[in-house]
């Protein structure tokens, strides 16, 4: 009997194809939007995770600031120093190496060309830690690092802007009225998973950066690479203890810094993506709701239009429940068809966008199933009211209806 009802519902839906299409348009758009958002969001999360893991699973990152980064940590947490970097290397045996890192924005000038770019203070150990090689010229010399000489290494984008395809090695660029000799060119890395250009960068020895650019001795981040095969969790605990001691944090007080491994960094970054995905999906879900109201509207119109038909059915022996089921099943079948079309459309959209954004296309069967069930539920909820109205019609009145 239920199959009979479904068959009749499909018949009724195709009897008025145009109206049916308009009815489900809202559902189609809503489901397609949700599916596309979530699929693209998950693809980009997968990409971020893969990117971060490429940095190496043995990398730890130290940043100042408490766990909650709120004002409760008592103002801005103080930065690290180069001495902290040395202490980590000297005192923690499982650490392979550690590198300071600080960053600001600058404008670099060469001849008539100039570019606004990211200026990073660090040293060769950073290049080792993140596995970034110099393809032209050389890295910093130990003497340049220790004395803070005015030398720099360029990223490929900066080189293209200032020098085109010619070699920048040995040339002098200007930043904030100070001059720096270009000694090396970094291998091109391309865009990060967030779309930022990783090659749009100039590197200075840390001491040079501190003295000539910032005028302080701050190290805003420390990258630590743990020896292969040793536990990053243990290194994390040891570094935390060491830094608490060095920063004179008494027992019971919270840390005013973070030690994160790459898994944590990845989850922090994907956290941002999933919040965005969540927000966008919520917006899309609202459009599903609007789609549901659209179904209700058209079903109500349909009930009015088919009043006479309902009268005939009641007269020839349909029970109120059978009429209710007929209209309810019609609404459900309609919204499920809308859901299916929406899923196909959403996946196609996501595949297209993933291709454009160069991220993996990662459809989630659970989300697809959920979207389908949700569209069916929309049919039940918004089909019920019109169906009940149909079932409650008085057959005599309905038959008299023009």
């Amino acid at each position: 009997m239920i199959w009979e009802t479904v068959r009749l519902a499909i018949q009724a839906i195709f009897r008025n194809t145009m109206r049916s299409i308009l009815t489900v348009l809202g559902i189609v758009i809503g489901v397609a939007a949700v599916i596309a958002m979530v699929t693209v969001g998950q693809g980009s999360s997968a990409q971020v995770t893969a990117d971060v893991e490429k940095l190496g699973t043995n990398i730890l990152m130290l940043t100042p600031g408490g766990e909650n980064r709120g004002p409760s940590s008592g103002g801005v947490a103080k930065a690290f120093t180069l001495k902290d970097v040395d202490a980590i290397i000297d005192q923690i045996s499982s650490v392979d190496t550690a590198a300071p890192y600080a960053q600001t924005m600058t404008t670099a000038v060469f001849g008539a060309e100039s570019t606004s770019t990211s200026l990073v203070g660090t040293d060769n150990r950073y290049l080792d830690a993140v596995d970034w090689s110099v393809v032209l010229g050389r890295r910093f010399l130990p003497s340049e690092e220790s004395s803070g000489k005015s030398v720099c290494i360029l990223g490929e984008t900066v080189r293209q802007t200032l020098f085109g395809n010619t070699s920048p090695i040995g040339e002098t660029i200007r930043m904030n009225a100070l001059t720096y000799e270009v000694v090396g060119l970094l291998e091109a890395k391309g865009a990060s998973s967030f779309g930022t250009d990783q090659d749009d960068v100039i590197g200075l020895p840390m001491k040079t950066f501190q003295r000539r650019v910032m005028g302080n001795t701050d190290v805003s981040m420390i990258f630590v690479s743990v020896r292969d095969g040793l536990s990053t969790e243990r290194a994390q605990v040891e570094i935390e203890a060491l830094m608490r001691e060095r920063r004179r944090i008494s027992d019971g007080e919270d840390d005013d810094f973070n030690v994160m491994d790459m898994k944590q960094i990845a989850s922090m970054l994907t956290g941002i993506t999933s919040i965005l995905t969540g927000l966008l999906s919520a917006v899309a879900a609202v459009s599903l709701l609007v789609g549901g109201i659209g179904i209700m509207n058209i079903m109500l119109v349909s009930v009015t239009e088919r009043t006479r038909e309902i009268g005939i059915r009641l007269a020839i022996g349909a029970t109120a429940n059978q009429v209710l089921m007929q209209f309810l099943v019609e609404a459900i079948v309609l919204s499920m068809i809308g859901g299916l079309v929406g899923i196909v459309l959403g996946l196609a959209l996501a595949a297209f966008a993933s291709n454009l954004m160069v991220i993996p296309f990662a459809p989630d069967p659970a989300i697809v199933a959920l979207a389908f069930l949700f569209s069916a539920a929309v049919g039940v909820v918004f089909g019920y009211f019109p169906a009940r109205r149909a079932a409650r019609l008085d057959p005599i009145e309905a038959l008299r209806h023009q």
């Binding site: 009997m1 007269a315 020839i316 022996g317 029970t319 059978q322």
Partner: protein, 244 residues
């Protein structure tokens, strides 16, 4: 609900039906008592507004009296709930309306299958019964036509096929020929008469036309919500100078 020879299929006992209240009160039926036995072909006649359709709705268990009793096969219909009445219509009654009332954009066959769907019949059995009914009303070969592709007379035949398909005990027809010309009307009446004579289906029909009423065994003449007279067509129409 087996039809006992002595129990009338249809019995009105002092039935009234009042619409509206106070000033606007209309006594559509004003104390009607009548009974119809199995196998009868009855025509209800009378001026417009005399309560014929109201009485037919009651016969068809679509409506119940304001006062008095309506019994179908001896059962008090007023005591039945909505679903029970639906079952009663499904299993014992067939309807033919003045305006045909076929489902639009639905083939003749699908229209005739409709009551069988509610009876729970499926597949080949249902199809066979519907085709058989269409054959009885002379529509073989038109099974897949939409109502819009059929003449008025043909549409009414489809409606009759739909009414007779479950072999009901009673067919209720309210002005079945009201929208048809004389030739088509006669054909429809012949179909109804054959169903009555050959299949023993009780027929209760409203008509304005004396020619059509002439097909009935008995005429019930209503005026102002009351039964004024009842008798054979010769008795009722003959007094007005009409031959049968």
């Amino acid at each position: 609900m087996p039809a006992d020879k002595n129990t009338p299929v249809i019995e009105f006992r002092d039935v009234t039906k009042v619409y509206g209240q106070g000033e606007a009160e209309v006594h559509a039926l004003d104390g009607v008592s009548l009974s119809i036995t199995t196998g009868e072909f009855v025509a209800i006649m009378g001026p417009s507004g005399s309560g014929k359709s109201t009485a037919m709705n009651m016969v068809g268990c679509l409506d119940s009296p304001t006062s008095g009793d309506y019994l179908f096969n001896g059962v008090h219909v007023a005591a039945l709930d909505q679903d029970q009445r639906a079952l009663l219509r499904r299993n014992y009654l067939g309807f033919v309306f003045q305006g045909f009332n076929l489902l639009p954009r639905t083939s003749a066959l699908d229209n005739v299958e409709l009551p069988l769907i509610y009876k729970g019949l499926v597949g080949a059995e249902r199809r066979a019964q519907a085709l058989d009914a269409l054959g009885k009303v002379g529509l073989k070969g038109r099974e897949h036509h939409d109502p819009s592709e059929l003449s008025g007379g043909q549409q009414q035949r489809v409606a009759i096929a739909r009414a007779l398909v479950g072999t009901p005990q009673v067919i209720v027809a309210d002005e079945p020929t009201g929208n048809l010309d004389t030739k088509m009307s006669k054909e429809i009446m012949e179909v109804l008469r054959d169903l009555n004579k050959d299949d023993g289906i009780t027929i209760v029909m409203v008509t304005h036309e004396e020619d059509m009423a002439g097909f009935a065994d008995r005429i019930i003449w209503m005026v102002d919500g009351r039964v004024e007279r009842t008798g054979t067509p010769a008795e009722i129409l003959g007094t007005r100078g009409h031959r049968q």
